[in-house]
Subunit: 339 residues, 2 copies
């Protein structure tokens, strides 16, 4: 083991010291945490009369991020945000997080601290104590594996499977910004040279915001028949909701809100901006299926939580997943595959 | 992407097909699983009047296992077993598991299937449905990251912190077999050449058994004041229980049960067999602190769940962690560090 005194690494610090650094930072607790970091397992008091909601998602260096593109604080933020997006899509309120880190031995201790800080700053913002986890050395990429625990009442849970033919599809926000942001970083443009719209794209890629409040409020008000998040792109999300609900789905091309940065990037590269934005993924918006009688309530709740929502399509009796463009149906693009 | 028809890889199969292969294998469900694999998150009904117990642990290729030493089925088994050991140490009954896999693109599909089968065979045996997870490509090592969810009643929970000076320490089983097993594989002895004791060591290393029944029964009967599992060695476990309980600890060298294979390996290599066995780790036995008045009940419950338990030391008022050997105290070895 080599040690560089001017820039200490996680390897020179040692496991116990690393755990201690996390513990000192993870100061937020909650009434429902019976046992947090420091025993063989964490212990939580379940929410009374409610269900446990559990999800896990990983960020892998070289697949989901590059350390030379993205600052450690943003990596820590994103590792939690992608899990919050899953809770949001269930209408679940966050309760606790577990953080599993596989660390290259040469990772600077400063990067480790910032990564943990990025994670905990977001966790604190959503009142989600870090209750446990695991540290191990990685002989290859840096990996962050998060398990998020939430809670939702049974009748207020949002699932993918509750859609019916005739439901309208509504999308929060816009799509394509994260895909453009990643490509802007890949083009290795100096950040200082980017205009405000491009900078926002980079920020959406690096530090996505989960639509947590919107998911929770729509769930609480039983304002939607189905919901899914957009981690692997709008095309994939629409297919998922249709498959789980045993319906077909049509997305209306002219209605899909595209981020201005995505449109600009696609045009600069002579690509179809809709296809570019739909295939890109990582937008972490929510896609809702809404019964006609839910429409009014849905829009009212969405307005209260300041979510911009747009009707972009419908669930159909006829099977299949289609994009309706200029009056013609074409097959919806496949989502991002990790293999 | 290259594809070898004679030996398909996870990369040639694709993400959706891999998830489908897991789903087809994960057929066991339970009354408390409201939503399993296939939505944005899993949903569980908490056990009535009980607490949620959550733990996560990872196996990383090149750190915790080597694919050329250990068959995929054993890797899958062990990834769950190390988490079950944490539940056992809390006295928690398993309820559900999440499996997060980072897969090298060239991993043969057959190995993937066997890995999942190894995981699910153990999960089924302990009635623990696989309710969710995540698949991603790994540009480096194969990684398995498991989150185990269990449940325990508040007053039946085992923690590390309940020990008091005067408590006796009892250990399940014996130590050193896993350490010897790993070294036997490292010496690349052909398995067929190994005698029965050495083969058992390899098996303890590759396919550890968590002391689940023992942990649950001792917890239920409130038969111990503190408990910890031995993942990082007996020295580390004893230090953990003492630190959490604010006591000192003395292990009596002459009482520690060593596995015959560990003794044989240490003697062949001119090592002190006790030191070798204590430093090795990966034994996944349980270490209990027992009040004098609990002793009888503890031994009776341990007998009922057919756990061999041995008194090996005591918690003390004087601080520090010591090994008592030939009437003299020497500092207890440090546990295995992952960095």
């Amino acid at each position: 083991m080599t040690s560089n005194l001017s820039s200490p690494t996680v390897s020179s610090a040692g496991e116990a010291a690393l755990i201690d650094r996390i513990r000192r930072r993870a100061t937020v607790s909650s009434a429902w945490v019976t046992l947090g970091i420091g025993d063989d397992a964490a212990v939580l008091e379940p929410a009374r009369g409610a269900l446990d909601v559990l999800t896990t998602d990983a960020l892998v260096e070289g697949v989901h991020f590059r350390r030379d593109w993205t600052p450690p604080r943003a990596i820590g933020h994103k590792a939690l945000a992608v899990n919050l997006s899953d809770l949001a899509a269930m209408g679940a309120t966050p309760r606790a997080a577990l953080l599993n880190l596989a660390l290259p031995a040469e990772l600077p201790l400063r990067d480790f601290d910032e990564l943990v800080d990025g994670f905990l700053t977001l966790a604190d913002a959503v009142k989600m104590p870090l209750v446990g986890g695991n540290l191990t050395r990685s002989p290859g990429p840096l990996m962050l594996d998060v398990t998020a625990v939430g809670t939702a009442h049974r009748r207020r849970l949002l699932t993918r499977s509750g859609g019916r033919p005739g439901d309208e599809l509504f999308l929060t926000g816009s799509i394509g910004a994260a895909a453009a942001g990643m490509r802007l970083l890949a083009d290795s443009a100096r950040r200082d040279d980017l205009g405000p719209v491009d900078r926002e794209c980079v920020s959406r890629y690096e530090r996505p915001d989960a639509q947590l409040e919107c998911g929770i409020q729509i769930g609480r008000n039983r304002g939607a028949s189905a919901c899914v998040d957009l981690s692997d792109g709008l095309g994939d999300a629409a297919r998922q909701i249709a498959a789980a609900s045993h319906t077909g789905v049509v997305i209306e091309a002219g209605l899909v809100p595209l981020h201005a940065g995505a449109v600009a990037w696609a045009e600069r590269h002579h690509l179809d901006s809709l296809e570019f934005s739909m295939a890109g993924g990582e937008d972490y918006e929510l896609l809702f299926a809404i019964r006609p009688r839910q429409r009014r309530g849905f829009l009212s709740v969405a307005g209260r939580c300041r979510a911009a929502v747009t009707r972009i399509g419908r669930l159909t009796t006829e099977p299949g997943a289609w994009l309706e463009r200029s009056g013609r149906l074409e097959p919806l693009v496949q989502g991002f595959s990790h293999f």
